[in-house]
């Protein structure tokens, strides 16, 4: 986790959100379960504790009600995606072509095609998954 945080800090172009509020996390997790989506995994929450949402070169890591119009809310993004209502999946980011999601069943981070929802890549750790979606 430290590596990805350091890497993001070093990229001048990356727009990094301010750390997330704990209250917001509880509300978000509640809303996700209400909408029949999976909950946010712990290591992703750790990332949000450093940067609540990231935007870099057209790619995005969603945040929990983040400040600033550039960023996108996880709950909203999940509702907008065709993966809304999937109890095993929570969408955490995206680029022009793919979603970054977490699958609670396989306990992996997945790169999923936006259109046909095919799983293109699977990562057991958060770092390569975030790197993949942000292309860093």
């Amino acid at each position: 986790m430290k590596n990805i945080i350091q890497t993001l800090k070093k990229i001048p172009a990356a727009i990094l959100g301010s750390p997330v509020n704990v209250k917001k996390i509880i509300l978000c997790q509640k809303e996700l379960t209400q909408n029949h989506n999976a909950m946010i995994p712990e290591d992703f929450l750790e990332l949000l504790h450093n940067f609540n949402a990231v935007a870099y070169d057209g790619a995005k890591i969603f945040g929990i009600s983040p400040n600033g119009k550039i960023f996108m809310d996880i709950v909203l993004a999940n509702q907008m995606s065709p993966l809304a209502g999937n109890p095993n999946i929570v969408v955490l980011g995206c680029d022009e072509f793919d979603y970054l999601a977490y699958n609670t069943e396989t306990q992996t981070y997945q790169i999923i095609d936006k259109e046909d929802l095919e799983v293109l890549e699977e990562y057991s750790e958060i770092e390569p998954a975030v790197k993949h979606i942000l292309k860093i």
Binding site: N35, A55, D57, D116
Partner: protein, 599 residues
């Protein structure tokens, strides 16, 4: 004289003397107080206010600030509507209020939002969906970003399944003795799709050598899939792009379509873009830096907005860390070498340009948007069209978010799939707001690349290399002039070959589209052109004759003038010699006498 001048002025400006009557104050009074004072008094206070509002609505045009404010308000409202549409609690409340089902409520909200966006120039349309094969999407991605992702070749990994057994069982020992000419790239259907993209076409020349090195025989190459070829390219280019990063997941291949588009856009629309950014209230320092980066690298973010000169505060800190020489004066420019040093030391925040409130200067996030989404491009036969400039658009956030807000895929009649997409005008190259003053239309016209006939080019290059070899053998004997002549001839040959190849391409294209080529018409137009040219040449020759005649006349007239001028000068001289009339009289008498004597 003065009178005449005034008369002239009066004629030219008949209202000149009525200036007092039409003074600026009076004009304004006429506009603002159109109704008489009596009528004005009759109006009630409310109606008077209404009257003033109407006047302002009618008479005063919107200022830039008004437009920006309106734009910001509209975006806030749209953003809120989108959030509500996807917020379960809001939809449930809406359904309760209007006594409908949640599904219907959502559809209603969606329709309202769609209508709103339509009035603002973003049309949401339903159309049939043509899915793209996964392999082609993979190629489109690579062309868009200009990079190739590594595929994990470990047999148990998920991505290794994409690779074919032919690729996995490759053997470099078997291809050791092969030559590049042994490979017929046209035999690979996959590579024919790859080469639809200009960037991959440019790599084609080196491909046979890469294949030999990778251990893929010409027979096997024909059966490789898109992932196999991308992995071959990845293995070759990872060492070139990042020699020290063996573990790197991504290899740089070429400048992606995304970045090429940004470069092409800013080259054509620099001033318009700058104006829009100014209108949007973006800091000019940011705009300048943004434009510079767009021009140089095709990037719209990822650059440091650094102060141009050292302030006393900056210098004191930097001198502490010995990052600048001790004698650096206040106000000295911050050089790029020093910026990189400061960056390495982790003190970049110190020299970042800041606004009035002390916050680092930032600007809007710009993204490159596919007008026709990659997912919906399955009906295209030339897949390179997806990433062509006419299908791309530079868009500011949150408008990019709006453009995808109503994306939806739905199944109708079982197998048929339809999608909802927001469409942006095909000529728009920059979308900086709903108001048209924030948009830039740019017709990139023909495709951004020229298709060269590689066969002809290869033949020419082969000839060139052969000629060069011959030349190098006898280089000592051939003079410089001869070498130059030969070079010129070669260049002419290439130009001729290229010129010949272009019309061939057009003919080929015509055959594909029209099915009925018309060579007779082509020759007619050529003969007409020739006739027109000959007429023009005749006319020019005639004009040249006329010009020569006039020139000769003028020369003669000048000669006459010069002789007359000389005679006048001599006469003046002789007259001036005789200041007195008596002397002049004597001189005349003397000359007469002399003439008589002569007789």
């Amino acid at each position: 004289m003065v009178k005449k001048r005034i008369e002239k002025l009066e004629d030219a400006f008949p209202d000149f003397f009525d200036e007092e009557e039409n003074s600026l104050d009076q004009i304004l009074d006429n506009i603002t107080f159109q109704k008489s004072q009596e009528e004005h008094n009759r109006l009630s206070p409310e109606s008077a206010l209404q009257h003033v509002d109407d006047f302002y609505e009618e008479k005063i045009s919107e200022t830039c600030e008004d437009i920006l404010l309106l734009e910001k308000n509209t975006t806030t409202l749209i953003q809120a509507d989108i959030e509500n549409l996807y917020k379960g609690s809001f939809v449930r409340d809406y359904a309760k209020r209007y006594q409908t089902t949640e599904k219907e409520a959502k559809e209603r909200l969606r329709a309202e939002l769609s209508h709103q966006l339509q009035t603002l120039g973003m049309n949401c349309i339903d159309k049939k969906h043509y899915a793209l094969p996964r392999e082609i999407k993979h190629i489109i991605r690579m062309d868009f970003y200009g990079t190739i992702d590594k595929i994990d070749e470990k047999l148990d990994s998920k991505s290794a399944k994409k690779l074919s057994s032919i690729y996995l069982n490759r053997d470099p020992r078997k291809t050791k003795d092969l030559k590049p000419s042994d490979y017929d790239l046209k035999k690979s259907h996959t590579w024919m799709i790859y080469r639809q993209f200009r960037s991959f076409r440019l790599l084609e020349r080196n491909l046979p050598e890469i294949l030999i090195h990778a251990g893929i025989s010409p027979e096997n190459f024909a059966h490789l899939n898109a992932y196999d070829i991308s992995q071959v390219l990845y293995n070759h280019y990872i060492h070139k792009s990042k020699p020290d990063a063996e573990k790197d997941e991504r290899a740089n291949l070429f400048l992606g379509a995304k970045y090429r588009f940004v470069k092409a856009f800013i080259r054509r629309n620099k001033t318009a873009f700058k104006h829009i950014m100014d209108l949007r209230g973006v800091d000019t320092r940011y705009t300048d830096a943004l434009i510079k980066n767009m021009e140089q690298y095709g990037i719209t973010s990822g650059f440091d907005m650094v102060e141009k000169n050292y302030s006393a505060e900056i210098l004191s800190v930097l001198k502490k860390y010995k990052l600048v020489p001790e004698d650096t004066p206040i106000g000295a420019p911050i050089k790029e070498e020093q910026i990189s040093k400061i960056k390495e030391a982790g003190l970049i925040g110190l020299i970042l340009a800041r606004d009035e409130n002390g916050n680092p200067v930032t600007g809007p996030e710009l993204n490159v948007h596919h007008k026709i989404a990659v997912q919906d491009s399955g009906e295209k036969t030339n897949f390179a069209e997806v990433n062509q400039f006419k299908n791309l658009c530079l868009i500011i956030e949150p408008y990019h978010f709006f453009a995808h807000a109503l994306d939806r895929t739905q199944n109708i009649n079982g197998a048929e799939r339809y999608v909802s997409r927001i469409e942006i005008n095909e000529n728009i190259a920059f979308f900086g707001g709903f108001n048209k003053i924030f948009q830039v239309e740019c017709d990139f016209g023909r495709p951004h690349y020229n298709e060269y006939d590689h066969e002809i080019l290869d033949q020419i290059h082969q000839k060139d290399s052969a000629n060069n070899k011959n030349l190098s053998d006898t280089s000592d004997k051939i003079s410089r002039k001869q070498k130059k002549k030969e070079k010129l001839q070669q260049q002419k040959q290439i130009e001729q070959a290229l010129n010949n190849s272009k019309p061939q391409k057009i003919k080929k294209h015509k055959k594909k589209t029209d099915e009925t080529p018309k060579p007779a018409q082509h020759t007619d137009t050529e003969s007409k052109k020739m006739q027109g040219l000959s007429r023009r040449i005749d006319k020019l020759a005639h004009k040249k004759d006329e010009y020569n005649k006039i020139r000769a006349e003028l020369i003669e007239k000048r000669k006459q003038y010069l002789s007359l001028r000389a005679a006048k000068k001599s006469a003046i001289k002789t007259i001036s010699q005789f200041e007195d009339d008596e002397k002049f009289e004597r001189f005349i008498q003397y000359t007469i006498k002399m003439q008589e004597k002569q007789r």
